[in-house]
Symmetry: C2
Subunit: 352 residues, 2 copies
């Protein structure tokens, strides 16, 4: 029994507490804070901003569906336009996952691109694609965005005092917030400022421009060498430690909000860069369809909502991630990487 | 052809450059710096510090082997003792992977722990296990360790100047290095200092104690609630973004240096915390054997070496990761997360 008890607790050991008879009392876990957030703190995601990607069923015949949330303005809107266009042209139907590189990315596109074993010709691209510039990897209208920026964890300036302070939602709006940001630090090795914009993690060097960050599950656009910026025909998602060195070097266009495991648990490719090698073509996962959710019949449209990153609930959640006080933890970190403060997204209740 | 060319380059887009006819010239990629490092910069890993874990063959009948490098003194040596003891008692033989939680951990141990569907009783633990204390999550003898600490990227103190400076190997030894560290910054949201000790990423708040960091592929010891610290019977590896909030809360004992894809690409569990649910018991991957490499016949002992983190090659490699100048990149990051400066480990040549 001792071993069983040990194991019962070991099961709980590495993440959020679940119900357990022997669980010590403690402060709420981040998941509990999210579960208790008032309905008013949740923001519905428009069906126009959701892509539903249906993969071929798995080896057991079970369906595999991935839902991607597209990024809002002002970020990457040219590529987002292209992605909706590809989806509406049904261009993505019949492509496949061609690359899975461990601790890096899963990438999907036309398997007849760059494939010595190709059995067909590459698909022609649809008409109407926008050609984006490298300047579009970042957004420069920070003054206009300030009202929707939030920064749930702020480290006091060096020398002033140590430790982290909880973000106050009242500081999240307008110029006051911006002034505060300019004088605070949410820095990490990649950016002086790491903050949130309307539910998305973003970074900045000096608050004159802002860009989205390559966190786990984010979706980006494969491209050629500079000055090419990619069309959206080739997409990837991050399946490992955040490759933040790609920030400002590739367009990010969205994130996987459901079904991530269908992309992260695929067999790794043995070819260069994790592409499936010539003798592994059978490992490519077929993508049957990709649809913009708003184009689906109303009854089939998935409904999602995210926890407002400007809400008090999100500030409390982020602070709890930075300073875990739930029973398992003995030493709170005192901080958190922007990519570990994952914005909560959930299925919305029917009619909600 | 244009599309094929586009795709050929897209294939290269997200990582290290491979040979390509149209590839622009540029500075060496980190992988090229590693490939060019002199033999003298590589350090052999003792067979006593390698675990060879053989999983059941995959669905295609292909063998699956995982090699784990155990952590050197002064870190976690009580748990490392236990792990060798478990392996030599053949206690691990016949256990399984019971938990795969997306963007978090893959965990293995006795499937009859905490399992309502258990078909057998938990295995009794072997004699001779050490019981470790929470104080053992960190090492306090920093003065003794200083000669083997290195810090390849240093950010100048705020206000002095911006940007990163290349580590000089001559600063990597002894008190000079330590003094320099105390006055520099390798900070991120989790620690004031992030550095390397004999090939391992470690962190410190104030250089009075040091601890290993929960990077991708690191191996840790599942435990019960405090003050339990775990025995080593349950182990996990990180398969997502570094959960650095676990630093100083759980013992880290090693890292996967080969075969990581056999653990990271397993199907995620649908039960709480990513455990395989009652109706998924068939997804548990059996672990056939775990052996200390030095106990294997000489011809079967795998030989590995790592790039010395105190070498000039490593400093050059780390600097190139922080400031990518190889052809794909347009904006170098100017810094790098300690978990993205992965210590190069490779198979050693026979007789090398």
């Amino acid at each position: 029994m001792r071993t069983a008890l040990l194991a019962a607790a070991t099961a709980l050991a590495l993440t959020l507490p679940a119900a357990a008879q022997d669980e010590p009392k403690g402060a709420p876990a981040p998941s509990e804070i999210v579960a208790g957030a008032p309905k008013a703190d949740w923001v519905a995601i428009a069906a126009e901003d959701l892509l539903v990607m249906t993969l071929a069923p798995d080896a057991d015949g079970k369906p595999r569906q991935v839902v991607i949330q597209l990024m809002p303005a002002p970020f990457s809107q040219g590529w987002v336009h292209n992605i909706r266009l590809f989806a509406r042209a049904k261009w993505y139907d019949g492509i496949s996952v061609n690359r899975v590189q461990d601790n890096y990315v899963t990438q999907w596109g036309d398997p007849n691109y760059d494939n010595p074993e190709a059995t067909g010709k590459p698909k022609p691209l649809p008409e109407g694609l926008k050609v984006m510039s490298e300047a579009d990897y970042t957004a420069s209208n920070v003054d206009e965005l300030a009202a929707d920026l939030s920064f749930p964890l702020m480290q006091k300036p060096p020398g002033e005092s140590s430790g982290w302070t909880v973000y106050s939602p009242s500081m999240g709006k307008g110029d006051a917030a911006k002034r505060h940001l300019r004088n605070s630090s949410g820095d990490d090795p990649y950016a002086r400022f790491n903050l949130f914009y309307r539910g998305w993690p973003v970074a900045s060097a000096d608050m004159t421009s802002i860009w989205p960050t390559h966190c786990y599950g984010m979706v980006g656009v494969g491209r050629n060498y500079s000055p090419d910026t990619g069309s959206g025909a080739e997409l990837y998602t991050v399946i490992g430690h955040a490759p933040r060195h790609l920030d400002r070097n590739i367009a990010l266009v969205g994130r996987v909000i459901e079904g991530m495991e269908h992309l992260s648990s695929l067999p790794r490719g043995k070819g260069a860069l994790g592409f499936y090698a010539a003798d592994e073509a059978g490992k490519r996962t077929p993508i049957l369809t990709v649809r913009v959710a708003s184009d689906l019949p109303a009854a089939e449209q998935p409904k999602f909502e995210y926890l407002s990153t400007e809400s008090g609930s999100f500030a409390t959640y982020a602070e709890a991630i930075a300073n875990r006080r739930d029973p398992f933890f003995i030493v709170p970190a005192g901080g958190a990487d922007i990519c570990n403060i994952r914005v909560p997204v959930r299925r919305a209740a029917e009619g909600g």
